[in-house]
């Protein structure tokens, strides 16, 4: 809200330097977002009379002038303007002046000639940048040497741009802000209650009301004015409206706006002759109704919205939001109905939200307006209008229809306990001190026994409904900064949860493995889904901003590919990324497991809690939100095996309770013959492999990308958090190598598993150290060479024992996999 300080002074004698006033406003929670100096920047600019103009001896474009600036000593000033002529009266920035643009005028030499000031254009004075053609020429009668600001009738002022919080309906107007400032500074505050001469017929003879929905409109007041002369507003009204950011329109509309800004009560003027039967009413809008609003837009009226109707039941206004064009004030208007009403804030919020139409009025009604301010506002409006239309006749009386139930239903009287105030604030206020804070803000207090204070809440503070709301007001007036600070002591030895610890371990391990953490957005577009070929169902946003960010990811693959693509496009080709983040599935969907088969997901992310899909508290369901880990590598010789190596390194370091299987599958988005599912028996944790080159190409990546994505929570459930020691032998280990010819269909890790199984505790390590494929023949087998490190708890292995172990290993692999020992 833009607040001219001069306007505040109508209500309280504020006399603070601007910076101190800004501090006061901030400390009151009236946050100053901007300070504008009005009419400043003209200090040192005076009226000059051009006595002589002559060419500059050393410059073509610049001329020299002699200007009388009222000091009795004409000055030589250089000037480049073509319209400069002898006899002109012009604004002159004298030496030392700082112009609104920030330029400071100094005595300077221009090609050998002194210039003692500057003749200004309108542009240079910060006025009307559009018509800046040459210097500004003032009327001939203008007094020489007079300050320019005075000549132009510019009054200095300061406009504060305040951000008013939604719980401060009282501060949505100049008077309310003045009240707050006066209360905290201990200044007197006065808000006039104007009396209006009622010199017209009885109001009931001129207009009537029909409030069908008192629940939407608990109070409706109406004044009727006749013989109104519509025309421009007095200067001070137009100027203040302009400073406050509103455009002056005509004296009737301006008076209405002025009162809204000053007192916080929106009003609406109707041309009585254009309102059927001179009747105003309120009802809920029916389906399919429309209105042409003041801004000449045809708008649908949301069904059920609070609507203003005329005597023919036609909608002529969106109550509390915007009036209709059919009854607006025109130059020919002479009879005016002035509505000052009160509307249900939720209903106003609804209308304004559905139509995406926020107005100065709706912002105030949403916050709830002063319950008792209607009559004062009416009278003020008439008073202001009479300044420009002195002959208007004001009908006798006011139509004032109020609902039986006073509304809003805030308790007018609250009990505030001194002990409670001090318990919440950590203060030691006496009941008297509390009252001293509340009274200047308009609260009426009386102290009862045991420090209980009966507080009557003023009508303009509908936000103060509870004791705690009043406690905030006390704290605000005392000053938040003056409340003594204390550091609370937690009784807990806090630590990360096991999952949080493991997640950090995973992240730190991956960083140690050379992976860099990415952060990709959770919002995808249909293009991403299409490019990657996602087949799992995707949750849509109901109100996306852009198509590119309209879906919730159920995989991090598109985000990772975008990250890779961003970098490869910039010649950053060697990349290892990882990310931990959430993915989302519609409830009760089944994730694809294996080749086309499905299984319900075994590990819903229960730790994050359940969500309620129907808003009725009747039942919640576990969230279908999961925490995934994605790893991604590209560049150089990277292929699917690279990411498996990194995955092995990670899981080895995490110490899983069981080895996880990598079962070949084909998955949309992945290289059909280089992809596996990460599995623990029947449970799928995720997928690993190479991204389909076609998918990479769709993301403009022309190198191989290896990728892994697993459910982090399921993975971490496999971590042996507190490993128990197994005995190690006192005796030396021995090594031997075995090379097998293994059918291509058998995976190397199956052979490895067989070896582990066969040698059990004798086996310390098994390492695949060579793979050989005979490239010349289309062989069905390849050679896998393993190095085995073995030992025994019982003693050093003898030659006979070594031979036995070797035989056991060979037999197991040949029997299980149809492999043969390589010669």
């Amino acid at each position: 809200m833009r607040v001219p300080v001069s306007w505040l002074r109508d209500f309280t004698p504020i006399d603070l330097p601007t910076n101190e006033l800004v501090d006061v406003c901030n400390s009151l929670g009236l946050v100053v977002e901007g300070v504008e100096q009005i009419g400043g920047g003209f200090d040192g600019v005076v009226v000059g009379h051009v006595l002589d103009v002559r060419p500059h001896p050393n410059a073509d474009r610049v001329r020299l002038s002699t200007v009388d600036i009222g000091t009795g000593e004409p000055q030589q000033i250089a000037c480049g303007a073509a319209n400069l002529a002898v006899g002109q009266h012009v604004p002159v920035a004298t030496l030392g002046t700082t112009l609104p643009g920030g330029m400071t005028i100094e005595r300077r030499k221009l090609r050998g000639e002194w210039s003692n000031g500057m003749i200004c254009s309108e542009d240079e004075l910060g006025m009307a940048p559009d018509r800046a053609e040459g210097i500004m020429v003032l009327p001939e009668e203008t007094e020489i040497g007079k300050p320019f600001a005075e000549v132009m009738g510019i009054e200095q002022d300061v406009v504060l741009d305040l951000e008013i919080e939604t719980n401060r309906p009282d501060a949505m107007c100049i008077a309310g802000i003045a009240r707050d400032i006066a209360a905290t500074l201990g200044l007197p505050f006065h808000i006039p209650d104007p009396m209006v001469e009622e010199n017209g017929p009885r109001v009931g003879d001129l207009a009537s009301l029909r409030i069908e929905r008192p629940d939407l409109c608990p109070r409706f007041t109406l004044r009727v004015l006749q013989d109104v002369r519509v025309g421009p507003s007095p200067d001070f009204i137009a100027r203040r409206l302009t400073l406050a950011g509103m455009r002056p329109i005509n004296n009737v509309v301006d008076a209405s706006n002025y009162v809204m800004l000053e007192l916080g009560l929106p009003s609406h003027p109707y041309d009585r002759s254009r309102v059927a039967r001179s009747q105003l009413g309120v009802r809920g809008a029916r389906a399919g109704e429309t209105i042409v609003t003041l801004d000449d837009q045809t708008r649908p009226v949301p069904q059920g919205a609070c609507a203003i109707i005329d005597g023919n039941d036609a909608i002529i206004g969106l109550a509390g939001v915007m009036g209709g064009a059919s009854s607006d004030i025109t130059e020919s208007t002479s009879e005016v109905l002035i509505e000052i009403a009160q509307f249900d804030p939720y209903s106003i919020n609804y209308t304004s939200r559905v139509l995406a139409l926020r107005t100065d009025a709706s912002a105030r009604f949403e916050r709830r307006i002063d319950r008792d301010g209607h009559l004062r506002a009416q009278n003020r409006l008439v008073e202001l209008l009479r300044l420009s239309s002195p002959d208007l006749r004001c009908a006798e009386g006011t139509l004032d229809e109020q609902a039986d139930e006073p509304w809003p239903s805030s308790r007018e009287q609250l009990t505030v306990r001194t002990t409670r105030v001090n318990e919440i604030l950590g203060t030691t206020f006496s009941p008297e001190a509390i009252c001293d804070y509340l009274e200047p803000m308009g609260f009426v207090t009386s102290i009862h026994t045991e420090g209980e204070i009966a507080v009557t809440v003023p009508s303009f503070r509908p936000d103060c409904e509870r004791e705690i709301d009043v406690i905030e007001e006390i704290a605000r007036m005392h000053g938040y900064e003056r409340i003594a600070r204390r550091v609370p002591t937690s009784p807990f030895a806090a630590r990360l949860t096991p999952h949080q610890q493991l997640r950090r371990r995973v992240r730190h391990r991956l960083v140690g493995q050379g992976f860099t953490e990415a952060w990709t957005t959770s919002l995808l577009g249909p293009d991403d889904v299409e490019k990657v070929g996602i087949t799992d169902p995707v949750i849509e946003l109901a109100n996306p901003v852009t198509r590119e960010e309209s879906l919730l990811r159920n995989t991090m693959l598109p985000g990772m590919l975008r990250a890779v693509s961003y970098n490869t496009a910039r010649q950053q080709l060697d990349l290892s990324f990882f990310e931990v983040g959430r993915v989302f599935f519609p409830p009760e969907t089944e994730r694809v497991v294996g080749d086309g088969g499905t299984a319900p997901r075994a590990y819903p992310y229960t730790e994050v809690g359940a969500i309620d899909l129907h808003g009725d508290h009747a039942g919640t369901r576990p969230s279908d939100e999961f925490e995934h880990l994605a790893m991604c590598q590209t560049g150089g010789d990277v292929d699917a095996q690279s990411i498996v190596r990194s995955w092995r390194e990670l899981t080895e370091g995490l110490r899983l309770v069981r080895r996880l299987d990598l079962v070949p599958v084909s998955r949309p988005g992945f290289h059909p013959s280089r992809c596996a599912e990460v599995r623990d028996g029947a449970v799928a944790l995720g997928v690993i492999g190479e991204v389909d080159p076609a998918v990479c190409a769709a993301f403009h990546i022309n190198q191989r990308v290896a990728y892994l994505e697993v459910d982090l929570r399921v993975l971490l459930a496999h971590v042996d958090v507190v490993p128990q020691m197994s005995p190690i032998t006192k005796y030396p280990s021995a090594e031997f190598d075995l090379a097998f010819l293994v059918p291509n269909a058998v995976r190397a890790d199956e052979v490895e598993a067989t070896l582990r199984d066969a040698l059990k505790t004798n086996l310390e390590e098994v390492t695949l150290f060579d793979v050989y494929r005979d490239e010349r023949s289309s062989s069905e087998v390849r050679s896998l060479a393993y190095r085995l490190k073995v030992s025994s708890l019982a003693g050093t292995l003898s030659d006979a024992e070594m031979a036995e172990i070797r035989t056991r290993a060979i037999e197991a692999v040949t029997t299980a996999h149809g492999a043969s020992l390589r010669g």
Binding site: R367, V487, T520, I539, F584
Partner: protein
Amino acid sequence: MDETVELTDDDIAGIIADIHAARTLDELADRERRYTGKDSHVTAMQRAIGSLPPDQRKNAGARVNALRSQLTDAFSTRREVLARHERSAQLEAERMDLTEIVGSVRSGHAHVVAQTREQLEDVFLGMGFTIAEGPELEDDWHNFEALNFPPGHPARSSWDTFHVALGDEQSTLMRTHTSPVQVRVMESRRPPIYSVMPGQCYRRETPDARHLAVFNQIEGLVIDRNITFGDLAGCIDTFTQAYFGEGIVSRLRPAFFPFTEPSAEFEVTCIFCTGDGCRTCSHTGWIELGGCGMVDPNVLNASGIDPEEYSGFAFGFGIERCAQLKHGLSDARILLDNDIRFLRQF
């Protein structure tokens, strides 16, 4: 050589000098053979002692032995010197430029936002706060209603919400703040509660230098007996100093949030100018960081906590904002680009 002839002192000195003149272990071995081997003069002298008259044997034997040990000492001294030289020559030959590292060395890096989150978590762990998490896809109850935002409340419109096409209309949404986790914590645990809740949030807005549509917040919640506004202010002071460093203080000014009463915005000393005023802080010396306040009794009631028995405070602020301030990131949008040249800097 006549083995009976005794060597003069000069002869002995000559031999010793010759021993020390050996330049290699091989040369030394030659001399050892020559001067103390079985064909050497010393050996011959020893052998000749037997043929001397008994009264002379003793003296002659002592002299020869003394001579032999004198030579042996000379050899071993020289051998040590030569061995030392040889070893250092050999090691010198192995000299290596330790910086001839072929190929690029690439370490991984945690994302600067994740690092910031971790640092903040550690500050709060040190203050005895546990860390709680909740879903990003939330329901209306936790994100709004339980936090004292009834439907149609004007404050809802300042939270630009992404609704989700799931369940009843407007029943589900992407959480607009981490505050719903407060509700979840209060629903699942009895006081005392000392927790922080970091996580990703969503706002339906067009990203700019200071705001992202997807961003991270950290929220704090304390519920205990006798918790006051003074505790809130002290707590904020403590963690801002712990995170930003000594000399950084905080101040509170009134604000409005539906879920706290009294509510405040908190600002910290501008870390760029330490309060003197600069462009970053618009010459105020302060930087706005987040919101806070005493938990509204309605919120406590909604979670089944008696506001007359317990009181508490909550605060929340942006993790990216902290990272921006601390690491001089002028435009937050770079955080989601994942440019490796940016990520590597942290």
